[in-house]
Symmetry: C2
Subunit: 151 residues, 2 copies
């Protein structure tokens, strides 16, 4: 599944290749994406905030994708509708964004709404740790929509 | 100033070159950065949310940079501390992020605090329009800090 997702990202979102994003871990419970420092450096020799945000976004997107695929229902689309990032400390090394499966209750609410309405929203969070503490705290709201053909 | 900023971005934040970011307009009042569709496309054949966020971030950063440079005071650093994005509609073309100078009162508060404390925060917003409406509404909180050597 790791290689499949990586290939998918590189083919369909080419900027992920320039960012050097790699899939470190992927399961229904947890997604970890990594990216190298060099590709994402900024003028202060720390990681560009835009790259931190992008990798966190894709970690959440991937977790949602894996879990929706697993349901084997109708083809679906995932759209990001909002994001919020707290940059709590600079990152000056290769980095990883980790997204974990949300609260079961929240997931059940989301799935129920998706079946009822054909679309639903869910909030997912991702963290980037650096030197033993959270450096980037990310929250994204994603909409899932059942569609006619898989995308 | 356009070429200077573009060169600066490409040299110091290499991912901006992969994104194809160009400086369309830059003044103390307004910064417009553009990016081509092809470099930033995603699996839905719309612009990747991470790229929309990154270009909006850099438009705000650039506006702050130009205005702080103009003050000709101490060397300074700019750090992003928070961002919030509303993705209101998909973008499926080349796009531009525009950041305008904030309320004069807000700017004066920021500058006063910067002189008093050597650091201060300001909220800046950027928009990306598509087909005559706002498609992406971005807000970022940036901290400026006086430092020993210019960065």
């Amino acid at each position: 599944m790791k290689e499949e997702l990586e290939t998918y990202l590189y083919q369909h979102i080419p900027i992920t290749q320039a960012m050097g994003i790699q899939v470190k871990q992927i399961s229904k419970e947890k997604v970890i994406l990594s990216a190298p420092f060099a590709n994402n450096i900024n003028h202060k020799r720390t990681v560009f905030g835009g790259s931190l945000h992008a990798v966190a976004t894709l970690a959440c997107w991937s977790l949602l994708y894996v879990n929706l695929k697993e349901l084997k229902t109708l083809p679906f689309q995932i759209v990001i509708t909002k994001s919020e990032v707290d940059y709590q400390a600079p990152v000056d090394s290769d980095f990883e964004a980790e997204c974990r499966f949300p609260e079961e209750k929240e997931w059940q609410r989301f799935i129920k709404m998706l079946y009822l309405k054909g679309k639903a929203r869910i909030s997912l969070s991702a963290q980037i740790d650096h030197q033993g503490r959270v450096a980037v705290d990310y929250q994204g709201v994603f909409a899932a929509i059942f569609v006619d053909s898989s995308t």
